[in-house]
């Protein structure tokens, strides 16, 4: 154990967790210690997700169908994309209120660029690339005002909220709806992989976590980051595999008339960005600096980190993920209309990240929180819809879940502080 190096013979008693036995007993002891000290991790939200699924499974007749499962993924995908960006912004201790309408800008740009007979009809893939770049640039611009001028992000992005809403109104008030015919764009929320392709994706997704742990164990041998409880590792690996293969199995089983829906591309896009952004946040210098700036901006500045650069880049990421989310939402209805963005997109995205355990005060949280939060909110709203509950109640219940999640988190943080971990 490498800590032996820094633990003196008669100094400071070892951390409680270092006295824990290995193996299965150690796993239980560690889990119990974590729960007692408020290190709940994603546990509450996973339990919540189970509860919601079981509840709707019994009460809503159309909820527990494979077709609805695929719908659920398609509906949650856009929110999850926006929530990814929210995680980074919240990690800095900032806020981005413009993402709802930035998603609209992404959808608008992509719809305009693919418009047949407009004289600038582009291939859908290129159109999407440009739309995302435009949103990233807008995000970077807003971030620059925050970083260089020093205007609070709340105000800057509130301005953005109004401005981009206005741009969308100006563009669509006269024209009504722009239909999206390009198949590549519409694929983002309608394409399903063939059953075989689905299984291959499930295999790849299941292998990534064990591969990352093995990589650490081999490359970081002897360090604390390489110390993994074997049973915990096995349990996590199996859980991920069950989720991946289960999702593919259900999606492959989903049929509308006689066509197999298959694993939706929207879900694969979200998982891809989940993995890529987790890597960015946890394994790169950029990610480390984001956490540092969110934790103590002055310390980060003195350590030679360009705080302004980090801020601008984070707002660019937020813009880009909003753009991608917007495209997925537009693909859902094959068009962009004045009703865009759908529902409470901005608030759902922020709520997803917060329910997922990301702190509003910066420096604390994980990318996975956005995914878990978005899926929970998506499941709630989808289930309540299948129960034909009124929109009013859907908002009220989503709000109550948000409150419960934040309250639980506050208690957990207090427990952590008291136990000194």
């Amino acid at each position: 154990m490498s800590t032996a190096d820094v633990v003196g013979p008669d100094k400071a008693k070892p951390l409680e967790e270092e006295k824990l036995p290995g193996g299965l007993a150690g796993l239980w002891a560690r889990s119990w210690l974590n729960i007692r000290t408020g290190n709940l991790g994603p546990l509450p939200i996973i339990i919540g997700q189970f509860a919601v699924v079981v509840l709707f499974g019994f009460t809503a007749t159309n909820f527990f169908t494979s077709v609805n499962f695929v719908n659920l993924i398609d509906q949650s995908a856009g929110t999850a994309m926006l929530a990814f960006g929210v995680v980074f912004v919240l990690l800095l201790g900032e806020i981005d209120l413009s993402i709802g309408y930035l998603a609209g800008i992404g959808a608008l740009v992509v719809a305009e660029l693919q418009l047949p007979g407009s004289g600038h009809e582009l291939n859908g893939l290129l159109a999407m690339l440009i739309a995302v770049a435009v949103c990233a640039a807008i995000g970077a611009f807003q971030g620059s005002i925050v970083a260089f001028v020093g205007v609070p992000s709340f105000v800057v992005t509130l301005g953005g909220f109004l401005i981009w809403q206005g741009v969308i109104l100006n563009q669509l008030e006269q024209r009504g709806t722009i239909i999206i015919q390009d198949r590549w764009i519409n694929y983002t929320d309608s394409y399903g992989f063939s059953p075989t392709a689905g299984w291959i994706i499930a295999v790849i997704a299941s292998l990534l976590y064990p591969a990352s742990i093995l990589y650490k164990r081999v490359l970081a041998r002897g360090t604390q980051i390489a110390r993994v409880n074997l049973y915990g590792f096995a349990a996590k690996t199996i859980a991920i595999a069950v989720v991946a293969f289960g999702a593919v199995a259900i999606a492959n089983h989903a049929r509308v008339i006689k066509t197999v829906l298959g694993l939706p591309l929207s879900g694969v896009i979200v998982v891809f960005f989940f993995i890529a952004l987790t890597f960015l946040a946890k394994w790169t210098t950029f990610g480390r600096h984001v956490y540092a700036v969110g934790g103590n901006a002055e310390a980060a500045r003195r350590a030679g980190i360009s705080v302004a650069r980090i801020r601008v880049l984070v707002f660019a990421i937020s813009g880009a993920t909003a753009g991608i989310g917007g495209i997925i939402f537009a693909a859902q209805v094959n068009s962009v209309a004045l009703t865009f963005p759908p529902g409470n997109l901005l608030l759902n995205a922020i709520a997803a990240a917060v329910i997922g355990g990301v702190s509003l005060f910066g420096g604390r949280g994980h990318v996975r929180g956005a995914l878990l939060g978005a899926v929970l909110i998506g499941t709630l709203q989808n289930g309540l819809n299948t129960l034909s509950v009124s929109n009013g109640w859907i908002y009220i219940i989503t709000g109550l879940v948000l409150l419960a999640a934040v309250t639980l988190d506050t208690f957990a943080v207090r427990l952590q502080a008291r136990s000194g971990r």
């Binding site: 820094v6 002897g222 956490y291 103590n296 980060a300």
Partner: protein, 260 residues
């Protein structure tokens, strides 16, 4: 101790508008020496340190480092020479662990991908060579450390880059008795390892326990340099206050002065 001082300042003058913060200051630190810098509030300690650390540039005067004349025009110049400052508010990120703080801004990476293992090894090494034995795990968040442990991490962070001169700004100001002992022991070890240490403190007790020599600033001038072994706290206090010990906290007023 070698003949050439590690750092030598001659005739340093610094003005802010019409205020002369430093006038003709003479100051030196030898390798392996703990030099205390004392003075009343407003005596110019912070300004002098900022001139050494590159935050300010002196208007006049010469700075030589390891016998060579140098110009320090920014914190980067100072860092390149091997001068590190541990500020009073420590500049640690509470949400990051010890390893992450130690390498903040200078992470070991390959194509921007972090090498956590190498950073953890080197952190353990550094803490071991400094005999920092109170930190239980290098992977615990700094938020969970005590004041003394945090100070130790901040000092270790400053000295791990082969620095030659470490400036400590009030390192024990916020600490309890046991933790103060811890940090002072660490300061002495820095000197024993051959580093030059500038110790800024208001606490003469700490200084007499740690420092080899004491430089006194008063109203922007260097007024005295004492050898710790051949002086008394009373002499230092008198130099700080120009013979008016009534103005020093903790020193009781004598009867006739109180009447005057």
């Amino acid at each position: 101790m070698s003949d050439t001082p590690l750092l030598q300042l001659r005739g340093i003058t610094k003005t802010f508008g019409s205020v002369e913060a430093l006038t003709d200051v003479e100051f030196e630190v030898n390798p392996g020496e703990v030099m205390a810098l004392v003075g009343d509030n407003g005596a110019g300690k912070s300004t002098l340190v900022k001139c050494i650390a590159g935050t300010h540039t002196a208007d006049h005067g010469h700075i030589s480092f390891e016998g060579r004349e140098v110009h320090i025009n920014g914190p980067k110049d100072a860092a390149r020479l091997g001068i590190e400052v541990v500020y009073q508010d420590l500049a640690l990120c509470d949400n990051l662990d010890v390893v992450q703080n130690m390498f903040l801004g200078r992470e070991i990476n390959k194509f921007q991908v972090l090498n956590e293992a190498a950073m953890e090894y080197r952190t353990s090494e550094t803490l071991k060579t400094l005999a920092v034995t109170t930190i239980k795990s290098v992977r615990q968040p700094v938020a969970t450390l005590s004041g003394g442990q945090r100070q130790s991490v901040a000092v270790a962070k400053a000295v791990q880059w082969n620095s030659k001169l470490v400036i400590l700004d009030e390192p024990t100001a916020a600490l309890g008795v046991a933790q103060t002992e811890q940090v002072l022991a660490l300061v002495r070890r820095l000197g024993e390892r051959g580093l030059g240490v500038i110790l800024i403190s208001h606490n003469l007790h700490d200084i007499f326990e740690t420092a080899d020599r004491i430089t006194v600033l008063r109203l922007g001038r260097s007024v005295a340099v004492f050898d710790r072994r051949s002086t008394t706290q009373q002499a230092v206090v008198e130099a700080i206050t120009a013979g008016m010990p009534t103005k020093v906290a903790g020193v009781t007023q004598s009867h006739d002065e109180a009447q005057a």
